[in-house]
């Protein structure tokens, strides 16, 4: 299962521009200088017409087919694999820096974990919509954003890590999928931080449309 392009062996990444988890992996690959190694397959997670579920039984994206030909998921595992492959430092190797970066990744991914079912709930017919489910997901996102805002002074934009990349992708997804969420109103630090982070080539090249 080797893929070559212009003589370079490539891994296959099943992803979508609309997926915040996919964007995180793409940004990680760009920051690590691995983007040219990825053959990107635009994949809707629920579309099995090309046999995607054989690669991703949980019907999720992103999935990476590695150099060795096996499928990797979920996105934190793919990001660590790429960071190791490149000898990168997007995930600190040891100590408090590592746990803090991984904890922030879980915070960012957790915003998406709540945002996706929130959006799904809001798309239901009114008679089938649960206000309790909407409130639960929305409140989780609000609290996570408030923590991110409080921490944002400590988030560098010049040297992103897996934690800040995940948070950047989560709020970028909110802007894309739920533009009326209004998260900036009481979170000026996080808003200013995201505006600067969005200038990075890796973020600019992966903005969802």
């Amino acid at each position: 299962m080797d893929y070559y392009f212009l003589g370079v062996k490539r891994m296959r990444l099943y992803s979508s521009n609309a997926s915040g988890y996919s964007r995180k992996v793409r940004i990680v690959a760009i920051e690590l200088g691995l983007d040219a190694r990825l053959e990107r397959i635009d994949q809707s997670p629920r579309d099995n017409t090309t046999g995607f579920f054989a690669v991703s039984p949980l019907a999720r994206i992103p999935v990476l087919l590695t150099d060795e030909g096996y499928a990797l998921y979920d996105s934190p595992v793919i990001c660590e694999y790429l960071n190791t492959l490149a000898g990168g430092s997007l995930i600190p190797a040891t100590g408090v820096a590592r746990w803090n970066a991984l904890r922030r990744q879980a915070l960012g991914d957790g915003i998406l974990d709540n945002g996706l079912p929130l959006r799904g709930e809001l798309m239901r017919r009114p008679a089938m919509l649960s206000a309790e489910v909407v409130a639960r997901h929305r409140e989780a996102i609000e609290r996570a954003l408030t923590l991110a805002d409080a921490e944002a002074d400590a988030y560098p934009t010049s040297t992103p890590d897996i934690g800040t990349i995940a948070i950047g992708c989560a709020v970028g997804w909110l802007d894309f999928r739920m533009p009326d969420f209004g998260w900036r109103a009481n979170r000026p630090q996080l808003a200013a931080w995201l505006a600067e982070l969005g200038q990075r080539p890796s973020f600019a090249a992966t903005r969802p449309e």
Copy 2:
């Protein structure tokens, strides 16, 4: 934020016996010989009466308050922290063994990620229940279980790792919360493997009731 018990410094684990993710962390701690280091707080993820959301803004369990006094989540991050603290080998350090173990953890956790909203959906009033949502989650779980069954010959019970522990906790949760799921019918290898794994003291001591 140090906790002592019989002179031993303790970390605080917010968890619940009913949570498959929490059980994974508890089993990891037992297998690593760290269980006595954990002060366990029985915590419902939606209960903020004691201020839990300040520790866990996403309202999730498990959360670990570490020796250094900071909060760690989600469960894969906690498991890696404990494995590092103990110098353990539940998460292989490098190579294909590492990626395969982490990928299996994502497969097991992904069963829970689908099982929880599936159960939530099935508890709705019939008029508010979406057959499409039920089918989507159920099919994802069925495919993940079928992959686990196909792989089960390669799952050791004598030396569990983070991947097989996660899968054991996921199917254990199904047995606990969705006893009529009927996953054993066409998956004899996975069923036999789980029966043997369940004999381990770490699994027996954490069985949900």
